[in-house]
């Protein structure tokens, strides 16, 4: 059964002369329980696909299916119970005046859970924070801890699909490792399906099994991570990205 299926998706911003086509005829499929990465540079349209999927961008056409259900223009609460998203910048994605308790409590009550207290404890435990963090405000948390709270919020409705929009690019490398480990643990525990967007091939390669490379709004190549590692790529842009990421930095040799 497919987790996410996207066919011929076009997304645009603005109308008439001001229209910008952010995504052009993109197609991809993520099996249930799979993990799929979208890579590309800024402006390549990779985050826009996630935003169209979640309904944050209403101007799209084509076909999008989640867990076998075709998506229309509106998303109901049932959709948000099965699909959740983690944003790039944990400094921007948490309300500055809401404590961790309020953030998780509100999410749980929106999804109609009753045993909120126990669930908050459980969620904090799941993301490795523990009850000590429950009543803190975002400014009392480090970047990594904030991202853990954001992950906990996304897990609250017990979704089957998690959309990850550059979840570690705003974090330090040591914290990035913690969050990546957390994400792979959670995927195993909860049997989650991941669709991840990143500009960092190594990060996508670590977490995902299949990769689509995007350039200027188009998916130029879809391949498995093994093929990527073996450098069996067909599109020149993929090779270019790969060369940049493998640390093949050709500057002049050290002086002396």
């Amino acid at each position: 059964m497919s987790g996410i299926r996207i066919e011929n998706l076009n997304v645009w911003f603005g109308e008439h002369e001001a229209r910008v086509d952010a995504v052009k005829a993109a197609s991809l499929a993520v099996p249930k329980g799979g993990s799929f990465g979208l890579v590309g540079e800024s402006g390549s349209g990779k985050s826009t696909i996630l935003r169209a999927l979640t309904g944050l961008v209403p101007t799209w056409n084509g076909r999008m299916e989640v867990l076998g259900q075709p998506l229309g223009k509106k998303r109901d609460r049932g959709f948000y119970r099965s699909v959740q998203m983690v944003f790039q910048d944990p400094y921007a994605s948490l309300h500055p005046r809401h404590s961790v308790d309020q953030v998780l409590g509100e999410t749980l009550s929106l999804h109609g859970f009753r045993d909120i207290d126990e669930r908050i404890s459980k969620l904090l435990d799941d993301v490795g924070l523990g009850d000590a963090f429950r009543f803190r405000y975002p400014h009392q948390l480090s970047g990594g801890q904030r991202q853990r709270v954001a992950v906990a919020r996304a897990l609250a409705p017990e979704p089957e699909i998690l959309l990850l929009d550059e979840p570690t690019s705003a974090l330090d490398v040591s914290v990035q490792a913690e969050i990546l480990n957390l994400l792979s643990d959670l995927r195993k525990e909860h049997n989650l399906t991941y669709l991840m967007v990143s500009h960092n091939l190594a990060v996508v390669g670590h977490l995902c099994t299949d990769i689509a490379v995007m350039q200027l709004g188009e998916i130029v190549e879809t391949l498995s991570v093994e093929k990527m590692r073996a450098q069996q790529t067909s599109h020149p842009y993929t090779r270019h990205l790969l060369a940049s990421s493998l640390g093949a930095i050709k500057t002049s040799q050290p002086q002396e």
């Binding site: 979640t54 944050l56 998303r75 109901d76 609460r77 948000y80 959740q84 998203m85 944003f87 790039q88 910048d89 921007a92 994605s93 948490l94 309300h95 500055p96 005046r97 809401h98 404590s99 308790d101 509100e106 999410t107 929106l110 999804h111 000590a132 963090f133 009543f135 803190r136 405000y137 975002p138 400014h139 009392q140 954001a150 919020r153 609250a156 409705p157």
Partner: protein, 308 residues
């Protein structure tokens, strides 16, 4: 400050903790930290001091006032300040100006409180709804705001009072009706910057509706800048109320409203300066206090500063 007893140290540490243990604890701790940074601003503390004093005077007016503010004594009219029994002098009907000022503080507080409740709430509601909804709702609401903004405040208030009839309640209503548009503008501008932020997107992805987002997520972030703006505007509101009183459209005689008192003193301003000056000084002091307080609050409440 040097001799802090032991238990207070414990309380202080409890309040300054970075690891609150309950909802109340977290809230108290946040409050205390704001209080600490507010306390660092001496001018703001000075302003707050004056306002606390004003509240105190208003609360205990009957005990503090040496005379009845309404009792006329034509034998003791227009006594200069410092005369026996009339610390700040007496007015043309021989009423003690100090006592009238003390009782007048109640009216000032009444006006200030009512306007401070009505105007920002209306402005906040209109501004956030317009900003968040966008489209034609935004256009309609903002054009209405523009119409209100196009009139000078006092002229519009005059028109309202003329239509509703003179009196203190109508003065408050008129001032509130003219005071909300700037708040709507501020609230809308703040909402526009927040509307596309990730934390709003995140809560939309939980299936939250627009009303919930506006009330629970946008309001808390707008309120701080509105509170600052309201305190800074308070001086203007007191002056507008005094202006209406001065023109005879606010509080009616013999109510000891400060603006009306100045109006009374106008006739004697050349020979008996204190009759108009004393209420003028009171208005000046309270307006200044609100301005100083507003400046201090801006430092504490500005969310951009507070987040760091």
């Amino acid at each position: 400050m040097t001799m802090i007893p032991q238990p207070r140290q414990g309380l202080r540490a409890w309040l300054l903790t970075d690891t609150p243990t309950s909802r109340t604890h977290a809230r108290l701790s946040a409050l205390y930290q704001s209080w600490l940074s507010f306390r660092g601003n001496q001018m703001a503390m000075f302003g707050l001091g004056i306002l606390v004093f004003l509240v105190f005077v208003a609360a205990f007016a009957p005990l503090l006032a040496p005379h009845d503010p309404f009792t006329q004594n034509l034998l003791a009219r227009l006594r200069p300040p410092g005369s026996a029994g009339y610390l700040l002098g007496s007015d043309s009907l021989g009423r003690d100006i100090l006592s009238r000022l003390i009782y007048g503080s109640r009216i000032t507080l009444y006006i200030v409180t009512l306007v401070a409740i009505v105007a920002p709430v209306v402005g906040l509601f209109v501004g956030t709804v317009a900003g968040y909804t966008g489209g034609w709702v935004d256009i309609v609401l903002m054009r209405i705001t523009d119409i209100f903004l196009a009139f000078p405040r006092l002229v519009l208030a005059l028109a309202f009072v003329a239509a509703l009839g003179a009196g203190i309640e109508n003065a408050v209503l008129a001032i509130s009706l003219t005071a909300w548009p700037p708040y709507a503008r501020i609230a809308r501008a703040e909402t526009l910057t927040m509307r596309n932020s990730d934390f709003i997107h995140a809560v939309r992805l939980q299936g939250a509706g627009p009303l919930r987002i506006i009330i629970r997520h946008i309001w808390p972030l707008c309120i701080s800048s509105l509170v600052v703006r309201v305190t800074l505007d308070m001086a203007g509101i007191i002056l507008a109320a005094a202006g209406l009183g001065f023109l005879g459209l606010g509080a009616q005689p013999p109510t000891p409203e400060w603006g009306a008192m100045i109006s009374d003193g106008r006739r004697f301003i050349l020979d008996h300066w204190w009759v108009a000056t004393m209420p003028g000084l009171a208005i000046f002091t309270v307006s200044l206090a609100f301005n100083l307080l507003g400046d201090g609050l801006r430092d504490v409440l500005d969310p951009k500063e507070g987040s760091q």
